[in-house]
């Protein structure tokens, strides 16, 4: 059903050129992320904030607990994007994220292991390349047309572009034109045009890390881990401790709780979360 689109490419681009391009893009992401961290001083802010939290800590978190916090960060925030309150936003993010990972990994496999028609790529790898691109398109266009935060609030049309859109748009163009390029194999000029746009979008995606939000994949897990750590050490970013409402000690300290909510306080329902915020 799917064919390896890089096979046709080997006619006018040698595998070495393709492989060099991939390596250059990898270096661009690494370099861009490092410059981003230095330029925005996000690393400095992060560590200063961590020091401040450490000062107001109520207990020292042992190493084993830190490891379990790191594992829970990977399992929740990294792998399943649990930090999103909006379920649609979460689904769209997961589709885009896993689609992008599959797309990048299979691209690297196809270019490094099966660049010429002489080495036939396994069908599953070629299929995954297309499925990954399609997942990014589904999640990305869903986000772009329906769940961008300011569509309701500011009444902006979908075609209004700002610099914050650099990342998602170049990602969407990369995968969209990669798919179009693959589908139109053998269509001559049109196919070449799609390929040029695909490469231009990919270059834009990987070379503009400093200005886009591409680097969030690196600092987001760090921030999520730090947030868990502040909860574990009691500093909690100066937030109050809700505690367990069924705890007799808590009920003795705050007698209004058993008086008004009973010995076993029930779940009071979603409150403000009954409706998503879209009236503004």
């Amino acid at each position: 059903m799917f064919t390896n689109p890089f096979h046709d490419l080997s006619g006018f681009l040698t595998p070495a050129v393709m492989q060099t391009y991939v390596v250059l893009m990898f270096l661009a992401v690494v370099g861009g992320t490092i410059i981003d961290v230095i330029h925005k001083k996000s690393g400095k802010y992060f560590f200063e904030n961590a020091q401040k939290a450490l000062k107001s800590a109520k207990r020292t978190v042992p190493g084993g607990e830190k490891v379990s916090l790191a594992i829970s960060t990977v399992a929740n925030e990294v792998l399943t994007s649990s930090e999103f309150c909006n379920p649609d936003r979460r689904k769209s993010h997961l589709l885009t994220m896993y689609g992008f990972i599959i797309f990048v990994v299979t691209t690297v496999m196809l270019i490094f292991s099966y660049p010429t028609p002489a080495e036939a790529a396994p069908g599953i790898v070629v299929a995954l390349w297309h499925i990954g691109a399609l997942m990014v398109c589904v999640g990305g266009y869903w986000f772009w047309f329906f769940i961008r935060v300011d569509l309701n609030s500011e009444g902006n049309p979908w075609y209004r572009l700002v610099r914050a859109d650099l990342f998602v748009l170049s990602l969407l163009m990369t995968t969209t034109f990669a798919l179009l390029w693959s589908i139109t194999q053998g269509a001559g000029v049109l196919n070449l045009l799609f390929f040029v746009i695909f490469i231009a979008a990919a270059t834009n995606l990987f070379c503009t890390v400093l200005w886009s939000k591409f680097a969030h994949m690196f600092f987001k897990p760090a921030a999520a881990y730090q947030k868990k750590l502040t909860k574990a050490d009691g500093s909690q970013e100066n937030l109050p401790d809700l505690g367990d409402l069924n705890d007799p000690a808590l009920q003795a300290k705050f007698p209004d709780i058993p008086t008004y909510l009973g010995e076993k306080p029930p779940n009071m329902g979603l409150g403000i979360k009954r409706e998503s915020p879209n009236h503004y």
Binding site: S56, C85, S153, R163, L239, M268, P277, H279
Partner: protein, 160 residues
Amino acid sequence: MPTFVYMTRCDGCGHCVDICPSDIMHIDKTTRRAYNIEPNMCWECYSCVKACPQNAIDVRGYADFAPLGHSVRVIRDEEKGVIAWRIKSRNGETDMNLLAPITTKPWGTAIPKLADAPEPSQEMRDSQLLYSEPKYIRMDDGDIHTLKSNGLKMKAGVAY
């Protein structure tokens, strides 16, 4: 003093924009994060602070009673039906945790089911009275209402 947003915690969900009674919490068009567009119009009602699911909004205290370095933060947990405050002084000697119920009934149970009420007549629509006013004042239909005709009894003290 006004509210401010920790940009690294805000995810731009818009709860603060929805709830702000002064309509001064907006979403920044470039960063897509919330911010207070008119800090000197903020009357520190704390609505946005309590509504924020990420606890990304904080309030700067007045310098005369809350010098720099202090902290007054709040969590409003509606599922548990409680509100908690933590007040920390600048030198860290005072670190208070306060907890109180915010409701004794599940959310929404005390809201009248307007969909079940009969539609107002044309006269009621044209009158200057608000929706709930005619119930006891009822100047637009019927006779003057009394406590008795409405099944009410005089009680000592303030009754709701």
